[in-house]
């Protein structure tokens, strides 16, 4: 098998894997609150990491000679296709089962959880994948920066509001705060992390390449 060019650029492939994972998470998102204790599992037993492995192999099997855009853009597109494909395969012929509200330890993701916006963006995939890659890379960076810059309470508020959709009142009850207190902590954290990510050298580089239509890949 001819060696894939990305296998020689580990740092780039590492980042692409992270972004693909983020894209899969977004596609497989569930409406219920999800905490770190729970792994998102697709009906049938597949996990985000299974889909990620499938997507990564799809990327590495793609011949460079047929690449029209960028590897980064292709990575986002493949991740999304693989996630939707996994959902469709897992839920074909299944009845939608309502959650019993008892807080199952595993959140099964069903096709019904897929938002309309994802389906539309799949159909439109083509022009802006690299921009989406840059946005997801920035999200991944913000998550990392939150670990380093925020204390435990502020991080819980930021993660809960920004990513997990935890209601303000629930966070306020959990952390002994008021609703406006939660909103204030979240807004400050969002401003700080958005600015820190925007000014981060890694994001600046990606963003500059985005303005030029992505990195200039040479054909295989």
């Amino acid at each position: 098998m001819k060696e894939h060019p990305l296998l020689h650029d580990r740092a780039r492939l590492d980042q692409m894997t992270k972004v693909m994972r983020r894209k899969i998470e977004k596609t497989l998102r569930v409406k219920e609150n999800v905490t770190g204790r729970y792994e998102r599992v697709i009906a049938g037993g597949a996990s985000c990491d299974d889909v990620l492995q499938d997507a990564l192999l799809g990327l590495l099997r793609f011949p460079g000679s047929k690449l029209k855009g960028t590897w980064e853009g292709l990575a986002v597109r493949i991740a999304q296709f693989k996630a939707i494909n996994a959902l469709e395969t897992a839920t074909r012929g299944r009845q939608t089962k309502e959650s019993d509200g008892q807080g199952d330890e595993i959140d099964e993701v069903r096709l019904g959880a897929l938002g309309d916006d994802e389906i539309v963006s799949l159909a439109e995939a083509g022009a802006d994948e690299y921009d989406e890659y840059v946005a997801l890379a920035r999200d991944d960076l913000m998550i990392q920066l939150a670990r380093d810059l925020l204390d435990e309470r502020d991080r819980r508020v930021f993660y809960g509001r920004q990513y997990l959709g935890v209601p303000k009142a629930e966070l306020a009850r959990e952390l002994g705060l008021t609703g406006p207190g939660v909103a204030d902590i979240y807004a400050r954290a969002l401003r700080r992390l958005e600015a820190a990510a925007r000014n981060h050298p890694a994001y600046k580089l990606l963003s500059a390449e985005s303005n030029e239509g992505g990195p200039h890949d040479l054909p295989e």
Binding site: L52, M142, P167, Y186
Partner: protein
Amino acid sequence: MTYPNDRVDEVIDAFLDYLEGNRDEPPLDHLTEDERAEARRLIAAIRSGRGLDPYSSPPSLESLLAGTPFEGSLERDLPIDEDALDLVRSELGAYASVVRDVDASERGLAGDFVLRVEGQRLRVVVVAATTALTADRAVASANALFGAFPDTCGVLLVHPSAEMSSIAIDPFDAAECIVSPSGVVERPRARRPVLPLADSLRLYMEFIAPDLSDSSGPLDRPELDAAELARAAAKRSVEAIAADGQRARIAAKKEAWGSFGDAQTTALAALVLGLINNPESADMIENGIEALAVA
């Protein structure tokens, strides 16, 4: 009074309510142009991040490619050559007893040296310059060492560069931990700063085995010799006067001050010592020291 940040904050809060289906999408018309630009930027970040799992992290590339046709084809870090290992060994040797980590090599683990410092056993892993010291796989190599050798109290990851950048990993960094108050499980990660090797080692030793025998405390200071202090103070003063005398333009002053020497020093020292030994002066000094101690 409403501050610009408050107005943008209100929009952000309202936008989250909108995403949760509790209200319509908030308008931006009432904001100034700058505020609107900021609000749009923050809203884009909210939209983009929605649905991500901040507590997840992808498995390593090696594990994703294991058992596939691409297994083993990932470009590996260049092996660390002997010169680089010698460089690290000589740097470490300046601070502690160091030996090659034969046990780790035999078990196929990434340990290069064992360091014995103040009765503690640390392991050193020389990391290829192309690998970040904080990378998951670097921390994972430390975790493997803690698992295989429970007597290891710390792992130093070192880049064999001129700066000898390094990071110390303790057993808790290398293990998954449950964070309070959220109760979520956080993956292993390097938490200490990247520092030159000597600083990493020194700071880590201060953390795991603080030296409490430091004799620099006030109780262990040697007793002060009042006569010696008085003579030193007198000598400095007499020398200053003699130097002024040497520069004087009035002949009498030049002759009188310029000739100040040992005799004047001895006399002045005796005078100062007498003052120090005076009971009233001694009380003043004691009170002064107490005041300083309180401050």
